[in-house]
């Protein structure tokens, strides 16, 4: 009977969104609400959705190889709540014993005991939103910690036993100089994380920072300077032995984030929590963004979805290509063909030749990938393939 089918149909990821932070950073366009204390009822709602999803035959055929609790600031909740949540998920889903279990955290909410407890609870990877080690810049973008706090957080995480640690860094901050950026990179390297996510600040329209930029009140470093920042980062991290494995991600060999790799492979995953997205069986479902509505819908036994999207085969193929090209190694042609019965060569035709001739794309018998130059100009390639 169906009930007894064990995990057979390939790996999947599990994402849990905690949409609360102590404050709101001025550039933040994520689904996250500022509050002193996160609502006590929210974790229960997460579990109700988990139970709904766990009941699907699709989920019962899957082995989950990664879990990522992100936000917002998951560490707004006490370690006990997060550990309990993890334990419940282990009950509901088939979680692989070697699973990568990540937790996102902001330095403003960390204490040594909390980290130690989380480590004991089974989290084996931690991602810290440090963004910068320059206090003046941290203040400008409304972060609630300083450089000392960030270093402290890393030290505590290490003491707690986290052997797989990521730091998020942002460049292109208002008024940022190359000297400041070089200093940030130096501190990051000194802290020797296994993984670094390095990305350019995007002034999203609906944020205070975005509005200030649009109104001309705030000036961000221009394209040329950002290209320098990017190159500075790349140079020093490659020299220090990191791999630049995705447009915005670096890692020590073997430490690529498996949970995110699944996104870039356009794989399957379940998303729990406000605004979280699930992608299963060719269907993409987005949960409602408001945590209150999310709780009410689940309390009423209803599904918490706000939007669904089912792409056709060709659209899904294109999406897989543009996601996969974000990876340094690009996509394996055989895998694409197996999944979609389409090949880039036939599907894109001359566009592909043009991009190759422009030196933005490389393709051999095995793989298709962005060239080194194409990496910095990825959108110029991706918008033609989308």
């Amino acid at each position: 009977m169906e009930q007894n089918i064990g995990p057979v149909a390939g790996p999947a990821g599990l994402y849990v969104h905690i949409p609360f932070c102590l404050g709101k950073c001025s550039y933040c366009a994520f689904v996250s609400w500022p509050c002193r204390r996160p609502p006590a009822g929210y974790p229960a709602a997460l579990l109700s959705q988990a139970r709904q999803l766990a009941a699907l035959p699709w989920s019962r055929q899957r082995c989950f190889t990664t879990i990522f609790i992100g936000g917002g600031t998951p560490t707004m909740y006490p370690a006990a709540v997060l550990n309990e949540l993890l334990a419940e998920l282990r009950q509901l889903f088939a979680i692989s014993p070697a699973a990568e279990i990540s937790l996102e955290a902001n330095p403003d909410t960390l204490r040594p005991e909390l980290l130690a407890e989380l480590r004991r609870g089974g989290f084996n990877r931690i991602s810290l939103g440090v963004q910068s080690f320059t206090d003046e810049l941290l203040q400008k973008i409304g972060r609630r910690h300083d450089a000392v706090g960030a270093r402290q957080a890393v030290a505590w995480a290490r003491q707690a036993g986290f052997a797989n640690l990521n730091l998020d860094l942002i460049y292109g901050l208002p008024g940022q100089s190359r000297r400041q950026w070089a200093a940030d990179l130096a501190v990051a390297l000194e802290l020797a994380p296994e993984h670094l996510a390095i990305y350019q600040l995007t002034p999203e329209e609906e944020t205070p920072l975005g509005r200030a930029v649009a109104a001309g009140e705030l000036v961000l470093p221009d394209q040329d300077l950002c290209a320098e920042f990017e190159q500075d980062a790349r140079r020093s991290l490659l020299t220090a032995g990191y791999e630049h494995y995705e447009v915005a991600n670096y890692c020590r060999p073997g430490y690529a984030c498996r949970h995110n790799l699944n996104y870039w492979h356009n794989g399957s995953y379940l998303g729990l929590g406000a605004a979280a997205v699930s992608c299963l069986a060719g269907l993409r479902l987005m949960n409602v963004a408001s945590p209150g509505r999310y709780r009410r819908l689940l309390a009423a036994g209803r599904a918490p979805y706000a939007e669904a999207e089912a792409l056709g085969l060709a659209a899904s193929f294109r999406e897989t290509v543009i996601m996969g090209l974000r990876l340094r190694r690009g996509l394996r042609l055989a895998e694409l063909e197996q999944r979609f019965a389409l090949t880039p060569r036939h599907y894109y035709g001359t566009i592909l030749d043009e991009l190759i001739a422009q030196g933005l794309l490389v393709m051999d018998h095995e793989r298709i990938a962005l060239s080194e130059r194409g990496f910095a100009l990825a959108n110029q390639v991706l918008h033609r393939l989308v």
Binding site: V247, V277, A378
Partner: protein, 598 residues
């Protein structure tokens, strides 16, 4: 017929015509409070956004006068901007009277004069009206003196009102009935009706706006257009109330509309006379003076497949805008399109916007030009309004360009700034006099090519809005003109060529290069932009290569959003024109002419 009054409201721009029309409409109870909005007759989106009238609008109001009689007022609200004076002259031909509005704080302006002269040419009875008397800066006595002395109108006739507060408006309605004459005309004569406007409706065909001079017309009649002899059966006639209101018939003296299942756009022409097939009139009514186009530019669809749609849209639009002309054109850079003649730059912008909005097209307009007379070595003359067709300089003996006489009214303190502006623009023979203490009427002869682009805007900003401007075409004069080409990565873009005065060539070239540089987005390669005259490069600049274009991060939650961003980027590219391997945005083609003086 005794109880009909057909009149226009005319004035300089912004003196309150449309606002006064609002008050008339409300006082005559023609529209419910719910339907009412300010400047009710400005019903095009562009008019509402820009706060100006572009097209004349007719509305028919029932009015119960103090003498106890019922009158029918056909009022036409007209535009005030110089580019649309053709609209005013068309409106005036359907009227017996006009209200000449003068802003009580601004006094007489350039278009006050120009529109008064138009009214006089049409033998209209004129009532001068001083508006905006509620303004703190209003000086009605001073303005009344100007009206009497400068315009030569009778002081006793002057009415005072505030279109905003409604003060004086009831008295004004009485003055209209009292001073303006009713239409003349004989209802028993054969039908003679003047088409003064038309509009295409995809369900009902062309809707004709007309004024019946003689005879009458009703549903069921077979009407014939005098100029082409084509006949149609009338389906409906009626008046322009707040909405179109069907009527039994339109009789001599009345203004209204005719719907006659006219699906062929070319059949009904503005200015033509309508008569009855069975009982035609002996001769047509005097038509309109054709509008004189002074600015020329080519319109191309951004995507070449849209050419047919553009062709249909042009036909429909010219029906509603008789002052626009067009003929086929082609460009090596842009493909097939139309060379169009406009009455001015604002007119050009309005046409572009209407085509884009009303017909859903995405367009490129080429650098505007005036009409040049080019005398060749064999003494023949060719008219050139498109720099792309400028003859080989070796074959040219001389070139003449149109000159205008500009009339500029300003408070005295701006005299210096305005003189400088005119000198910069190659002005000659300037003159000035003081119609009133503190005010100057400055006249100057200028090459038309120097004023078409941003002269009016510059004047407005130099004079903080107090300067007004009118012009008439004078004559053609020799000029030392050269054709300036723009090259993008070595490739000449014919649509960007312009004729410039030799002395200004280098400066113009540089400014055009800089403008293009600002407009063309960075590409993956360096782009050289050059301005050349003959074989010589006179200015150059570069758009440096794009170095970075990448979406910062992309995880599971926002795959859909990031994909949509890329799709948007892709769609944006479609709005650009590829020349060689460079994508040039729509806006670049007009931007090159903008001057960069602050």
């Amino acid at each position: 017929m005794k109880n009909i009054r057909n009149f226009s409201i005319i004035a300089h721009i912004d003196h309150g015509k449309s606002t006064l029309a609002d008050r008339f409409i409300q006082l005559c109870g023609s529209v419910s409070d719910r339907e009412f909005k300010d400047q009710l007759l400005d019903n095009m989106d562009i008019e509402r956004e820009r706060g100006i009238t572009i097209k004349s609008q007719t509305i028919c109001l029932p009015y119960q006068a103090a003498d106890g009689r019922e009158y029918v007022l056909n009022l036409v609200d007209t535009p005030g901007h110089v580019d649309f004076s053709y609209e005013v002259s068309r409106a005036l031909a359907a009227c017996e009277g006009a209200l000449l509005l003068v802003d009580a704080a601004q006094g007489i302006e350039a278009q006050t004069l120009a529109n008064l002269y138009l009214a006089m040419e049409n033998d209209l009875e004129v009532i001068p009206v001083i508006n905006k008397i509620d303004l703190p800066a209003a000086e009605p006595e001073k303005v009344a003196l100007e009206i009497e002395e400068d315009l030569g109108l009778e002081a006793e006739r002057i009415q005072l009102c505030s279109a905003k507060t409604g003060k004086g408006v009831p008295e004004l309605l009485e003055a209209i009935v009292k001073f303006l004459p009713p239409p003349e005309g004989d209802p028993d004569q054969p039908l003679q009706a003047m088409i003064f406007d038309a509009q295409y409706d995809s369900f009902r065909g062309t809707i004709i706006s007309c004024k019946v001079a003689n005879g009458q017309v009703k549903a069921g009649d077979q009407i014939t257009f005098y100029s082409n002899g084509i006949s149609h059966k009338v389906e409906e006639v009626g008046h322009f109330r707040f909405k179109k209101e069907p009527a039994k018939a339109l009789a001599a003296g009345e203004v209204g509309y005719i719907i006659a299942g006219i699906k062929n756009i070319a059949d009904a022409q503005v200015g033509d006379t309508i008569t009855l097939k069975d009982n035609p009139c002996a001769k047509p009514l005097p038509g309109y003076q054709p509008a004189k186009q002074v600015v020329f530019s080519s319109i191309y669809p951004v995507s070449t497949e849209d050419y047919e749609d553009l062709a249909r849209a042009m036909e429909k639009l010219t029906l509603n805008d008789a002052s626009l002309t067009f003929q086929k054109d082609s460009s090596s850079a842009l493909g097939f399109g139309f060379r169009c003649g406009f009455l001015g730059l604002l007119h050009l912008e309005v046409v572009q916007e209407r085509l884009e909005r009303e017909f859903g097209l995405s367009l490129i307009l080429t650098v505007p030009s005036v009409n040049y007379h080019v005398y060749l070595n064999d003494s023949t003359m060719v008219e050139v309004d498109n720099p792309a067709y400028y003859p080989d300089p070796g074959s040219i003996q001389r070139v003449e360009e149109p000159y205008i006489k500009a009339t500029i009214m300003i408070p005295e303190r701006y005299m210096g700034a305005v003189m400088n502006l005119c000198m910069e623009r190659r002005g000659v023979n300037s003159n000035h006099h003081y119609p009133m203490p503190g005010r100057i009427e400055y006249t100057c002869e200028l090459p038309l090519s120097e004023v078409i682009y941003d002269f009016y805007d510059r004047l407005k900003s130099l004079t903080q809005g107090y300067g007004s401007f009118d012009y008439e075409i004078l004559d053609y004069r020799a000029g030392d003109l050269v054709k300036m080409d723009l090259l993008v990565n070595g490739e000449r873009v014919d649509a960007l060529s312009q004729l410039v005065h030799r002395d200004n060539a280098r400066a113009r070239g540089l400014s055009a290069c800089e403008k293009l540089k600002d407009e063309i987005p960075r590409h993956m390669f360096k782009i050289a932009i050059q301005a050349g005259i003959g074989g010589n490069i006179v200015a150059r600049t570069t758009v440096s290569a794009m170095r970075k274009d990448v979406l910062a991060k992309c995880y599971g939650g926002d795959i859909t959003r990031k994909r949509k961003l890329l799709e948007k980027q892709k769609a944006g590219k479609k709005k650009m024109k590829t020349v060689g391997n460079v994508e040039i945005p729509q806006s670049a083609f007009l931007a090159v002419l903008k001057s960069d003086e602050k």
